[in-house]
Symmetry: C2
Subunit: 192 residues, 2 copies
Amino acid sequence: MPGGRPRSFDADTALDRALEVFWRHGYEGTSLTDLTTAMGINKPSLYAAFGNKEELFAKVLARYLDGPGAYTADALAAPTGREVVERLVRGAVDLVAGEDTPHGCLCVNSVHACGPDAHAVRRDAIAVRKAGEAALRRRLEQATDLPSRHDPATLAALVHTITDGIAVQAAAGRGHDELRRIGDLALHAVLT
Amino acid sequence: MPGGRPRSFDADTALDRALEVFWRHGYEGTSLTDLTTAMGINKPSLYAAFGNKEELFAKVLARYLDGPGAYTADALAAPTGREVVERLVRGAVDLVAGEDTPHGCLCVNSVHACGPDAHAVRRDAIAVRKAGEAALRRRLEQATDLPSRHDPATLAALVHTITDGIAVQAAAGRGHDELRRIGDLALHAVLT
DNA sequence: TTAATTCTGTACCGATTGGTAGGAAACTAG
DNA sequence: CTAGTTTCCTACCAATCGGTACAGAATTAA
C-alpha cells in the first residue's frame, strides 16, 4: 500500500550532524538554519522526520547518551568500586575534551539553557542526570573497597559534582592533559 | 553649564535588577524586554545609560564579582591554606544555592552561552575565571599547611573544578544542605 | 498508465529579536 | 523667561526566530 518518494538523506547521519551542532552551540544558541545547514536538509524535511526543535533535541540527547555517553554504563560494570569511579572520571575527561568533538558536555550545557523556550530541554537534561547518579549510587552501595567514612549517596553525588566540574573546565577551554591531571588528583583524594 | 533632565531611576538599582535577570535566565535567555521590564526603564534609557546588551552584561558581571562574588577575595586572605580552600568551597555553596538568589553561578552559566552573539560574553567570563584561579594558585604557593603531594597549580585547578561542579549541581536543582555535605566531603578528601 | 502516497523545495507566516529616530518633558545656567 | 542640555517615551526599523502551505517530484501498487 504505501510507497511514496524515498528519503534523500540518512536519518541517523542527520541526527549525528544535529548532535554536533547542539553540542557545540547549545540548544538556545542553535537556530533551525544552523541545523538544516549542518544536516543538509530543508526545514519541512526536518519537521517531518524529527518533529520540532524540542523533539529533535530530545532525540539528539538520547543519541548522545547511547553514543559518546555510553562509557558511563560500561564504567558501572567495572569489578570494584574504585575502578567504577576511576573509569567515570577518566571517561568524562576523554568525553568533554576530545579532539574531534566539541569541548564540554551536552548534558551539562543543557542544564544552563534557561531561556523561556528551553524548559523542556532543561527538564530532560536534569532527569537524565538524576537517573545516572541514582545508578551510580546503587552501584556504590554494592562496593566494599571504598573508604567507609561516607555513605554511597554522598560519594555518588561528589563524583557527579567532580565530573560536572570537569565538563565546565573543558567548556571554558582547559585542555585534555591538564584535565587528566586534575582528574587524577581528584581520584587520589577521593579514593584514599 | 550642563543640567538636563534628571534620571528617573537609580543606575545601581537598575544594574542589580539586570544582574538578577541575567543570573536567572542566562545571557542568551534574557531579552531586552525582560531587562527593561525588570529594570523599570525603557530601551532608549537602557542604551543611554549602559550601552548595548553586551556592554550591560559586562557591567553586570563586574557587579556580580564585586558583590555576591566578593567572598573569593576574602577567602584568599585567610591565614592558612586549608582555610582558604574551605572558605572558597563553602562560600561557593552559599553563593550558588542561596535562598534569595538564582541557583547557579552567573560566571559558570556564561561559559555555556555559546551562541553566535555571545562570543564576547563567553570570553569575558573565561578571563574572569582564569584570573581568579591564578590568584588562588599564587595564594596556595605561599601555603605551608597543605598536603605536599601535589603542586599548587593543580590543586588550585582542582578546587576550581570542584566549585564549578557545585555550581552545576545547584543549577540542576540540588539544594543547599546537600551541597554543603558534598562540599564537606570534597574538602575532607582534598585536605587530608 | 493511473492512483495513491510520501518526500523535497520554495516561498511565506506572525512573532520576537536587538537596536534607533525624533519629539515632548524636565532640568540648569544665564 | 529663554537657551541649552539631557533624559524619557512612543513608535518604528531590518533581521531573524521557529514553524508551515503548497505545489511539484519520485516512488509503489494496481
